[in-house]
């Protein structure tokens, strides 16, 4: 790298957004910039935002794909409210994202894609690069397509292939502008196109050209540097929620010694779990792409009956289809994990957009009285621990467990301190022992005689002589597990199944409150809103309000001390990416007039939105 003449400014945190056509490779550009940023040791959070269509008509607003990244030397909890730099590959990308750019922010636009046809496709009446509408921003218009074609004129590649590498020019330029290392992207290209040398060399060349172009063109007044964040000592990697969740399940199979069976049907945004787990056959992981969501759940339950860690994952519509099987798992009291990577509903909804609107379905969405534990992950990296915990609790209490993630967590990335496998909670497995199980006077195994502490029933997979038994969806006799229509027995079984789930709360750690421990407002959240709530609470406290933040790991059962925590604050504010579902659960349980901040737009909260709601709540509005 040659000595630079462009001055370098130190900044504490930056938000950049790569936006272009869904065929422009923006997700790839964003994820490579993320990797470079992680290796530059910044804290970071990402928000990939893309259409459901694989290749929506080129140049249209509904084909725009974006990747937002917030990084800093300070702790980063959100993908950023306002964008400092927007890289817009065409007018549609600019049009869809301009409102996210802060006034005075920078815009790099590919002027080659701002021709009349492109403007027509984006339904822009005039050219924003010329009509003065961007006067409040620092605009750098580049001939990205032309520069790429010139760089590759001797490459022997087709124009189509050449144009496909222009995102590497943008990446190179962005890396230069933010003084990121270029080596990780180079290494990645070498690996990705190892067998396509021409493409590999072309991309490497364009990446370098982009990196050096910033210096040559002298269009930029300054470069920016973001110092490493002060993260806890340890070994880190960048991780996305879906990756972390899959690793958490592998940790569960390794630590428990139980085989992992994963039955799944492809669905956005959960499919990546299947992709990831199908690679881990060396961990004995068996993945099964089922014919539908129902078969996926049924296969996981069949495996659970066989003594495996039975796991299935899906998103909202799939959870609806799995409902009957989850009910059977609850009735047969077999351990099973159901992952719901939530997306915007209802019905097919907005598959690539995030939401938290399956909470009530997870807690209540089955016929009959069918309580099961429900927990949620709060950050991409936390998906690891949440998955491990879901599996551990399912086995310990012989119950299906629903784990809620969402599209934002699944696709979003953050630096993750890699845990030491030895530091994970012990994962106890107690299979029924034919010599010590409860038996009736005739010596028959009683598969519904419970553990006195956990109320779990013995898990007795086939293959063990003397433990032969039959399970099913018909109501069970409280001891033998035989079919029973006895009224009192049904009451007892309904009660004991509820008590078993409620009792899980007895092993929870005290509910942690960040910020003030008592005061004006408690912000109560769950799931992926963690980072944004934390950032908003920090800001509100710096302005003198007494605000606490409690974030629920478990939505069912609630922690035993939740009521006590709620009582220490004058007001309770619950921000959710739904129409107020946790609010209903809290009101139902505690009869408290909690306040709802409901956002249902398919995108995460902005910090400012929660901050404003905290102020309003504190002032009694």
């Amino acid at each position: 790298m040659s000595a630079t003449t462009t001055p370098i400014q130190q900044v504490s945190d930056v938000t950049i957004l790569f936006a272009g056509d869904s065929g422009d490779g923006m997700q790839l550009t964003g994820s490579q910039f993320t990797l470079a940023t992680a290796l530059a040791r910044n804290d970071l959070a990402t928000l990939p935002d893309f259409p459901a269509e694989i290749r929506a008509p080129a140049g249209t607003t509904y084909g725009v794909s974006g990747f937002q990244l917030h990084f800093g030397e300070v702790a980063i909890h959100t993908p950023g409210d306002e964008v400092d730099l927007l890289v817009a590959m065409n007018p549609a990308a600019l049009k869809m994202n301009l409102d996210r750019v802060r006034i005075g922010g920078a815009i790099i636009a590919n002027i080659d894609s701002f021709k009349q046809r492109d403007l027509d496709l984006a339904r822009s009446d005039s050219n924003p690069l010329e009509d003065g509408s961007l006067s409040g921003y620092e605009v750098v218009a580049l001939e990205l397509t032309k520069l790429t074609r010139e760089a590759l004129k001797d490459s022997g590649l087709s124009t189509k292939d050449i144009d496909r590498s222009k995102n590497m020019f943008a990446l190179g330029l962005a890396l230069w502008l933010y003084t990121r290392p270029i080596e990780p992207a180079r290494e990645w290209l070498k690996g990705k196109f190892a067998k396509k040398e021409m493409i590999r060399d072309a991309n490497l060349l364009v990446l370098d050209k982009g990196y050096h172009y910033g210096e040559t063109v002298e269009a930029f007044a300054a470069r920016y540097e973001v110092a490493p964040a002060k993260l806890e000592p340890g070994t880190y990697r960048s991780i996305r929620g879906n990756e972390a969740l899959a690793l958490g399940l592998v940790a569960a199979t390794t630590k428990s010694g139980l085989g992992l069976f994963y039955g799944s049907y492809p669905i956005t945004p959960a499919s990546e779990l299947l992709h990831a787990l199908s690679k881990y056959k060396d961990f004995g992981v068996r993945t099964f792409q089922a014919e539908d969501e129902i078969a996926a759940a049924g296969s996981a339950l069949g495996a659970a009956f066989g003594g495996q860690l039975g796991v299935t994952a899906t998103s909202g519509p799939g959870l609806a289809l799995k409902g009957e099987t989850i009910g059977l798992a609850m009735m047969t009291e077999l351990p099973m994990v159901i992952v719901d990577v939530q997306r915007a509903g209802p019905s097919t909804g907005m598959p690539t957009k995030t939401e938290q609107s399956d909470l009530l379905m997870a807690v209540y969405g089955r016929n009959g009285e069918a309580p099961i534990p429900v927990l949620a992950a709060r950050t991409p990296g936390d998906c690891f621990e949440a998955a491990y915990e879901a599996a551990r609790v399912a086995v310990k209490y012989t119950t299906p467990v629903i784990l809620l993630s969402d599209g934002y967590l699944g696709n979003g990335a953050e630096p993750w301190q890699i845990p030491d496998p030895d530091s994970l909670k012990p994962f106890e497995v107690r299979l029924a022992n034919p010599d010590s199980v409860a038996r009736d006077d005739d010596g028959a195994f009683l598969p519904y005689v419970r553990d006195e502490v956990t109320n779990a029933r013995p898990w007795a997979p086939p293959g063990v002589a003397g433990l032969e038994h039959r399970l099913g969806g018909l109501e069970k006799d409280a001891r033998s597990g035989g079919v029973s229509y006895d009224p009192e027995n049904h009451q007892y079984m309904t009660d004991i199944r509820a008590a078993k789930v409620a009792g899980i709360a007895n092993e929870f750690r005290p509910l942690e409150v960040e910020g003030d421990q008592e005061g004006d407002v408690l912000v109560l959240g769950w799931g992926s809103t963690y980072g944004t709530i934390k950032a908003a609470v920090d800001r509100a406290r710096s302005q003198g309000l007494r605000v606490g933040h409690a974030h629920l790991r478990w939505l069912n059962p609630f922690p035993n001390d939740l009521g006590a925590v709620l009582s220490k604050f004058s007001e309770v504010l619950i921000p959710e990416l739904n129409h107020g579902q946790l609010v209903r659960l809290i009101r139902e349980r505690f009869l408290l007039p909690v306040k709802s901040l409901a956002k249902i737009q398919g995108v995460p909260f902005k910090t400012s939105e929660i901050e404003e709601a905290i102020h309003q709540t504190a002032s009694g509005n």
Binding site: A38, E232, P233, T235, Y236, R237, V250, A251, T254, F261, K281, D282, F283, G284, R286, F288, A290, I294, A295, G298, S299, G302, A303, G306, D442, A444, F445, N455, P462, V464, G466, E468, R470, L471, G472, G473, L474, S480, G482, Y485, D486, N489, Q491, Y492, T494, I496, A499, A502, G503, A505, P557, N560, G563, A564, L566, S567, V572, F590, L591, L592
Partner: protein, 391 residues
């Protein structure tokens, strides 16, 4: 929030600590009077080998009774299901020495109560979904001996998707399809195998649906073992169950089963003495297709099966010879011997082929990847990315 609203105490709307119901009441004790319980699992009896040479070597031998759970069988008196239960209990001791490895998985319907009556492991699952549980179980525990019990509504209506998929995957399980051409447990509606025009509680003016051809459907899904038998022919049924169990892959056995309450006599053409001979052709591999007590045979005339008179000039050498490995023949049988009342219905093993099973392929893939990569190391996997260290 006013003080009045403040939850006092640590556990506000207290769910109880242990074993208490939603209203905070302590759950009632388990009722003193429990329903009829399954009897004790009879231990494998030790009996002398009948070798007659005075050697007293004792081997555990399972009997039919060992497979009886002792639960009261609740099918209607006279139901064809009893015969199927008896046949399965009778053949199992020949097929296995390890009762604990046997698992019966059923869906919902009259037939699906079956697992409760077997003193083995079992799951009475969800309507139509038995193949899905069987798939997860067999794919993760290939050493188990898994049987799927289903009916015509269970496997061909609500579970038709899973039925075809388990067949194409060729999971190494047995499927016994109790076909009674009616919905029994829901009280007599027409089923996906009921004949057109059937008058039932849901079709007072006659049903309009063209019925499924179960074995034709299975063949279309590339099933590797197809057989048909009759509830009223226990010997034949036992022989077919043995063949199905011996088959490596999905052993599909369709049983014509009489529902004497809602569809009595649906198969009497094939089961009763006066009509059976003329309407059934019992297939044997390598044997000519002869029926009506040797008086008639089936001849292949081009691509058409034709009945020939063996008492008047033609002989068995003119008859088609059954080859259970011949897929084309299987297609001809399942199409031409299904809707044509002038020709007999085939029973026995209609088709079988060798094809790797899903469970063995999955096991082989796991083994292969593991032997190539070595057993996975969790710590290494967690670090398998670009990492950096913060001091």
């Amino acid at each position: 929030m006013s003080d009045n609203n403040k939850p006092k105490g640590v556990k506000p709307a207290g769910l109880p600590k242990k074993a208490a119901g939603p209203k905070g009441a302590k759950p009632a004790r388990p009722p003193a009077k429990l329903g009829s319980r399954p009897a004790a699992p009879p231990k494998a009896r030790i009996v002398p080998t009948p070798s007659g040479d005075g050697d007293s070597t004792a081997l555990p031998v399972l009997t039919k009774k060992d497979f009886d759970s002792g639960a009261d069988v609740r099918w209607c008196p006279g139901c064809g299901d009893y015969a199927i239960l008896a046949a399965v209990q009778r053949v199992l001791p020949e097929l296995t020495e390890k009762k604990e490895d046997v698992v019966f998985i059923s869906g919902i319907g009259c037939s699906s109560r079956f697992p409760y009556y077997m003193n083995t492991y079992g799951v009475h699952s969800i309507h139509g979904r038995a193949p899905t549980l069987a798939t997860g179980l067999k794919a993760s525990r290939p050493e188990l001996d898994v049987w799927v019990i289903t009916g015509d509504g269970d496997s061909l209506s609500i579970g038709a998707g899973h039925f075809t998929h388990v067949l194409r995957r060729n999971l190494n399980v047995q499927i016994i399809l109790f076909n009674n051409q009616i919905y029994g447990l829901t009280k007599g509606q027409y089923s996906p195998t009921s004949e057109v025009g059937k008058v039932t509680s849901s079709t007072p003016y006659g049903s309009l649906d063209h019925p499924f051809n179960p074995l034709g459907l299975a063949l279309g899904a590339d099933a590797t073992f197809l057989a048909r038998t009759l509830d009223r022919d226990p010997k034949h049924m036992q022989a077919i169950l043995r063949r199905s169990h011996a088959h490596q892959g999905t052993g599909l056995v369709e049983v014509y089963q009489n529902c004497n309450i809602f569809n009595d006599g649906a198969f009497f053409t094939y089961t009763e003495r006066d009509s059976k001979a003329l309407n059934c052709v019992f297939l044997e591999h390598g044997e000519p297709l002869v029926y009506d007590e040797g008086k008639k045979g089936l001849k292949l005339d081009g691509l058409k099966l034709r009945s020939i008179d063996l008492t008047n000039g033609s002989s068995t050498s003119d008859c088609l010879v059954h080859d259970e490995k011949d897929r084309t023949l299987a297609q001809i049988y399942t199409q031409q011997l299904m809707w044509n009342d002038d020709l007999p219905r085939p029973f026995g093993v209609i088709y079988t082929e060798d094809r790797p099973t899903y469970d063995s392929l999955l096991q082989a893939q796991v083994d292969e990847v593991t032997s190539k990569k070595g057993k996975g190391d969790l710590n290494a996997l967690l670090h398998a990315a670009n990492t950096w260290v913060i001091e």
